[in-house]
Amino acid sequence: MSLKLGVPSKGRLMEKTFDWFGERGVRLSRTGSDREYAGAVEGVEGISLVLLSAGEIPRELAAGRIHLGVTGTDLVREKLVQWDQKVKPLAELGFGHADLIVAVPTCWVDVDTLDDLDGAAAAFRAQHGFRMRIATKYHRLIRDYLRQGGVADYQLVDSQGATEGTVKNLTAEAIADITSTGETLRANHLKILQEEPVLRSQATLFKSRIADLEPSERAAMTALCQTLGV
């Protein structure tokens, strides 16, 4: 069997991943028609390319169905319980930068820190009779972060997209999401809390700690790591 390398199947993340490998002498490419998810690896023997949605790569690494995978740190930490026992980061690829942050309406001039958020949440619950809603898709990371920060009386509501719009639409009071430039937040009249971000994420090459390696796969892994210099 060959060593399986999982990479994002479309968009800028795929292109930049191909570029990163290409600059290091490993040529990744899609084969067949534009719509077919098949790929090829040139430069190192015994490796097959698996094109996947970036969101599924953590799961595939943890299940041992792929040996290596490129995805965001945010997705690995959110989706994998005890992530560091399942995957090992080999290299940060220097693109796909995004911070996971908590943002509140700009008109909340009284809220700039987690301490403020907690104070506002207590008053909000007393006033409205329910816990302040924070819209996010990063449930585990945000819950951990807010617990560490001592925030109580909130609830997480699931939002898989257009999260910045939830406040204006009255389905949440605050949000937690990834941002790179903050432009979408500003356009939606939201401001980031003046705290360290929950997580600074970027595209990263991970190695599965779960997947077994046959001798030929082990040789391919060594050759690839040498060529890439990781």
């Binding site: 309406p105 001039v109 009284d110 700039d112 819950r143 001592g150 009071e173 009249h189």
Partner: protein, 360 residues
């Protein structure tokens, strides 16, 4: 250890509690998630399984029996009442994948307003007797003394309420206490907000459910708080001393009585501790050797507000407590919709009992 062994041991234990006067009760495995989420906050999602029903909304696989048993009693129970139950509870184990996520609990709960100290002693002595052959180490504490000490601080109602709200989160509690005592600097953003003449005059529209009036009212509360004098070093030292008590019961009692001279607000709670010690002694518990720690159970027994206890296997520090329990008067108030009744109880984990018996 087999499932049938554990089940039969659980039935034995429930039998012991029935002999002690408890009525067997049962409750549904699926519980409305909202009640539990409102009580414990979002964090319970990391410890309990949440599932979704298209008609009933979010449901939780029961993480314990206490809440449904209290609800059942508050709706229909006659007083006084003693209940027992044995059944599965379900816990997510993200931090301890080696621990079971489905296990049996056998419980004993007392709803009785005649003599709380006596009821505390009844529950503890019964657990002590039932678990006696295992030679466990018992730990006890009293959240009521902690609460009384915080309620007695000479400061504003708002500050006392903020500290009470975070009693369960030691780091956050300490952070607030340090700030209220003037020991940490006011964050720059807070200072700027308080210095601003018209802080709400900004170039941004009002969006969301939290209104401008709510923002204004919090700014006003922050201004009042900034004008409040710091909690004195002496007060903080007394609170620290109360929280630091960790001795065998007789010494702890003596120590707390000394502290009550300077902090008379805890005297009532300390006398209840004294009554409990007497009641335990009458029931044959070796009070002189029993450990006491004021803050025991503070981080993991959120709904308890008085006496708390746990039984541990000294030889197996890797195991969770074999049994634990305490007083939860406030929980009956929250769930009772206006009604309340003093209540105390505890649970045993029979799979640990069987495991320890097998090792002996």
């Amino acid at each position: 250890m087999t499932t049938s062994q554990v089940k039969s041991r659980a039935a034995d234990l429930r039998g012991r509690f029935e002999t002690a006067g408890a009525v067997p009760v049962d409750c549904g495995i699926l519980q409305p998630a909202e009640t539990l989420l409102d009580l414990y906050g979002e964090d319970i999602r990391t410890r309990a399984y949440v599932t979704h029903d298209p008609a009933r909304g979010e449901q939780m696989l029961r993480p314990d029996f206490t809440v449904p048993v209290v609800q059942m009693h508050m709706e229909s129970g006659a007083e006084p009442a003693r209940y027992t139950y044995a059944g599965e509870v379900f816990r997510r184990q993200e931090d301890h994948p080696e621990r079971p996520s489905e296990y049996l609990q056998v419980g004993f709960e007392v709803f009785d307003r005649t003599n709380p100290a006596e009821a505390d002693a009844e529950v503890f002595a019964l657990f002590n007797e039932v678990l006696g052959p295992l030679g466990l180490r018992a730990a006890t504490g009293d959240i009521g003394i902690l609460t009384a000490a915080v309620q007695g601080l000479q400061t504003s109602d708002a500050r006392r309420a903020a500290l009470m709200r975070h009693l369960w989160r030691p780091r956050r509690f300490r952070g607030l206490l340090d700030r209220f005592a003037g020991r940490t600097a006011v964050p720059a953003s807070r200072a700027a907000l308080l210095a601003a003449k018209a802080p709400q005059k900004i170039d941004a529209p009002s969006i969301g459910l939290r209104s401008d009036a709510e923002v204004a009212s919090r700014i006003e509360a922050l201004r009042q708080d900034a004008a409040e004098p710091p909690i004195s070093d002496e007060q903080v030292a007394l609170l620290d001393a109360v929280m630091g008590v960790k001795e065998t019961c007789p010494f702890a009692l003596e120590h707390l009585r000394d502290l009550a001279v300077d902090l008379p607000v805890i005297a009532h709670a300390v006398e209840r501790f004294s009554d409990r010690c007497e009641a335990l002694d009458k029931r044959g518990v070796d009070v002189a050797a029993l450990e006491f720690e004021t803050t025991y159970g503070r981080t993991f027994m959120e709904y308890y507000d008085g006496f708390v206890f746990g039984f541990y296997a000294g030889t197996r520090p890797d195991l969770p407590p074999v049994a634990s329990g305490g007083r939860y008067d406030a929980l009956t108030r929250v769930l009772g919709k206006g009604a309340e009744i003093p209540a105390v109880g505890g649970v045993i984990r029979p799979h640990l009992v069987v495991e320890l018996e097998g090792a002996a």
